[in-house]
């Protein structure tokens, strides 16, 4: 067992995203490239054009995500392939000319996405954007997404969303305008959080900004008095908006515990000047009762987290603090700067799980089983699992507050109950 996990690091030793070791040296098939997320987001945002700069590989495969060269509203999603001369001398002139051509063809807001090779040769995309601003009428933002620097896909999302701030202009503040960063207006996979329904009933205009928003909505965003963040992918966007337009932000995506949620709601209350905390007392009580009931079953349970859990470190912190659960191993798709705080809290409580990136899904379960967990949380490729497993954690994305924590506990308890039932059935048959 030592051989299989000897190369992994404990959570406390992780300083940044690049320091997360792979579970296995062989990558098959590996995780998505950040370029994918950027391409998908660009295709979905109405009014946003994109220019993907890279080698034939990136540009060809990007068409799997951004399938058409032209969007529904005339957006252009074009590709720029570097030749051998540009790899040596840089692609600045070619990219600038390409953006000019896109502008001629009607592109207004353009995101230039640099992939591995432009990042590797050190092309200065920031100055390209600066020069383009002076030369063209369109608004251009640039991001660099070399996968050797941005190991997994989340960077593609948060850097793209952050770059959109470069396309915004200051607006007159509207005291009733609130941005929700990270949920799309047409979100269907998860119910609208109660907080947002309540704010809307109270007369606030909520602007949901996510990949399905339009540039028109995004450009209106600086009129808000508050940004409520519901996704790790939009926190850098909120920080940038705070810096550029002075819009305060409350990040709710990483908070699972009742005192934390109450504190965050109180901040929203203070900024907006309306009653919020007292309106959710019932939910708070319901969560407390659920936690009490779950406590007996979850205490000391050894668990591990695998893929597609939005924020494994804050969630682990909650499960330890609230229930005394024992984290054995965490798959981290991304290590966010905000995670440091939770890491030290986990360490203070006397826990230090192993961390890894699962990049060979087919062999992962066989290895992880050796750690004898009582519970697995997160997606893992179609393995026949003997351990109780909560496979789907993805649909909690975009949810926040008491109801999200309750839903997560319900799912974990449901999996444990089902497993218990199956075990009893097995014993009965035996």
């Amino acid at each position: 067992m030592k051989d299989a996990f000897g190369h992994l690091k404990p959570l406390s030793e992780i300083r940044n995203n690049a320091g997360i070791p792979f579970l296995t040296p062989d990558v098959a098939p590996g995780t998505h490239c950040p370029m994918r997320m950027a391409s998908v987001i660009c295709e979905e945002i109405e009014g946003l054009s994109s220019l993907l700069v890279g080698m034939p590989e990136c540009t060809t495969y990007s068409r799997m995500f951004s399938q058409s060269a032209q969007g529904r509203k005339g957006e252009l999603h074009w590709l720029y392939v570097l030749d051998s001369r540009e790899i040596v001398f840089g692609c600045r002139d070619g990219v600038i000319e390409a953006v000019r051509k896109m502008e001629e063809k009607g592109a207004k807001d353009i995101l230039v996405i640099g992939t591995c090779i432009p990042d590797l040769i050190g092309e200065d995309f920031e100055s390209i954007a600066y020069e383009l601003e002076a030369e063209t009428n369109s608004k251009t933002a640039c991001i660099l997404l070399g996968q050797f620097k941005n190991i997994s896909y989340p960077a593609g999302s948060y850097k793209t969303m952050e770059a959109l701030v470069m396309l915004m202009q200051p607006k007159q503040r509207n005291q009733r305008s609130v941005n929700v960063l990270g949920r799309s207006p047409k979100e269907e996979h998860s119910p609208k959080p109660k907080l947002f329904a309540y704010l809307e009933e109270s007369g606030y205009q909520l602007r949901y900004l996510g990949p399905k928003s339009s540039m028109e909505e995004i450009k209106e965003a600086p009129d808000a008095v508050l940004n409520i963040v519901v996704s790790p992918y939009t926190l850098p966007m909120a920080r940038k908006m705070e810096q550029k337009f002075g819009i305060e932000c409350v990040a709710l995506q990483e908070i699972y515990d009742t005192p934390g949620i109450e504190q965050a709601y109180r901040r929203v209350e203070d900024i907006l000047g309306c009653r919020i905390v007292c309106m959710f007392r019932e939910d708070e009580q319901a969560l407390r009762m659920k936690e009490e009931a779950a406590g007996k079953l979850l205490r000391d349970k050894r668990f591990l987290m695998t893929l597609r859990v939005d924020l494994p470190i804050p969630l682990t912190g909650y499960l330890i603090q609230q229930f005394g659960m024992y984290p054995v191993l965490l798959h981290l798709e991304e290590f966010y700067p905000e995670d440091h705080r939770y890491v030290s809290e986990i360490k203070k409580l006397g826990y230090d799980p192993l961390v890894c990136r699962i990049v060979n899904e087919s062999g992962a379960y066989g290895l992880l089983e050796k750690l004898s967990p009582d519970l697995g949380i997160g997606y893992l490729a179609d393995a026949e699992k003997c351990v109780t497993w909560v496979d789907n954690m993805l649909d909690f994305y975009g949810m926040i507050g008491y109801e999200r924590t309750m839903a997560i506990l319900d799912r974990i308890m449901g999996a444990l109950d089902q497993n218990k039932g199956e075990e009893e059935e097995c014993h009965g048959l035996a």
Binding site: D26, G30, P56, T60, V81, I87, L120, F148
Partner: protein
Amino acid sequence: MSGQWQYWTGSWGHWIRIKERRKNAMGLHRFKPVPSGRMGVLWTLATIRDAAVIEFGCMGHMLYAGTSLKRIGIQDACRLYSTHLNESDISMGDTSRLEKVIETVIKEINPRVIFLTPSAVPEVIGIDLHGFCRQVQARFPDNRLIVLGSGGFDKQLHDGVRETLTTLVKELTGSAGLTPNRTYNLIGSCADLFRFQEDKEELVRLLRETFQMEPLCILSSDTEIAGIEQMGSAHINLVIRREGKEAARELYKRFGTPYVCGRPYGVKGTTAWLEEIAEVIGYEGSREFIRKEEQFVWSRYRTVSPNFQRLLRSEPENLALSLGGHIDVVKGILEFGCTELSFPQARCWCDSPAMEEEGIPYLKEEEWIEIIEGHDKGLLMCSAEALEWGGKKTELQISNPDLKWRLYPFEPPFVGYRGALNLINLWINSCEA
């Protein structure tokens, strides 16, 4: 005012800079660009069973290459791995990841041959994969390591296909004497060509029925390592795309195996191909089969021939062929349409500057876009991507990039007698629609 003056906004220096940039913006594409040599290598290797490919590079590329290969119908063939790379690997030129992955792959599936390919990043930083391979091969005596695809940035898809076919033959083929029964190798059946599986099946059928010959190796779309190793035992090599010529020459040099180059399209074209093979192997084969196949196609053709003849007399432009794709595909279909059926030729193009011929030049994206935009009459056959964008009939697709999943490998072919009938069927339905 001429188009260029609209850019003149300031000093002459500024104007020269802008002109320079216009020249430089050569890499701008709306559509998928011509794939790189590295992609050609990977797509050619990916169909070989009981082997593994390890790409030394960032993992995203292999993930998407794998998905693309599944889309074009390649299942359960070569196992694809990558190593991933991070900043320190790049700055230190560190190849230890690659060695570890080789170890793990051998432990997991123990493939007889492991192909090592670089992605664009190690190519830029100049990692010497050949040197690495020489260094570590001794550690893995039972597993052959072969490096492919380190050919530089000017290499395109077809260079990669050629390199792979040639290297496979050079590195893996051994001598075992001729097989007792008549056998052949099909060289150049590769996954990058549209309908590669169907075309291969038609050729295998023709050779089986005409000469009672079975393939030893179908390089590379339907083979395992053992098949490549015994290529030297075949009686003839059939090269069905020009990238395979070098491999056939190599086999001729080493084993004296004769070869025939050609991709058979049309009725006469297919018969001529079979006759050439007959001459080379010294066996006439079943003339009866050829006669029946020809008759089968022509009898059906006769039912629509009056329609074609009427169009050729009154509106020949409606039957003018505009074809774009691989040179051998374009040339073959063009010859069938223009020579055997007397259709007029419109503008045709191929997808590699190194392969252009008179009448079939290589056209850049902006040039073939003009053809598609201006196309209002005639039969336009090219990639699905271009056809769909131009609002044309995607059923006339003859080349990639494709837009669909191809899980069903039993569509009609383009080559051989069945291919000829398929083309006639497509053409009559298109010009009458």
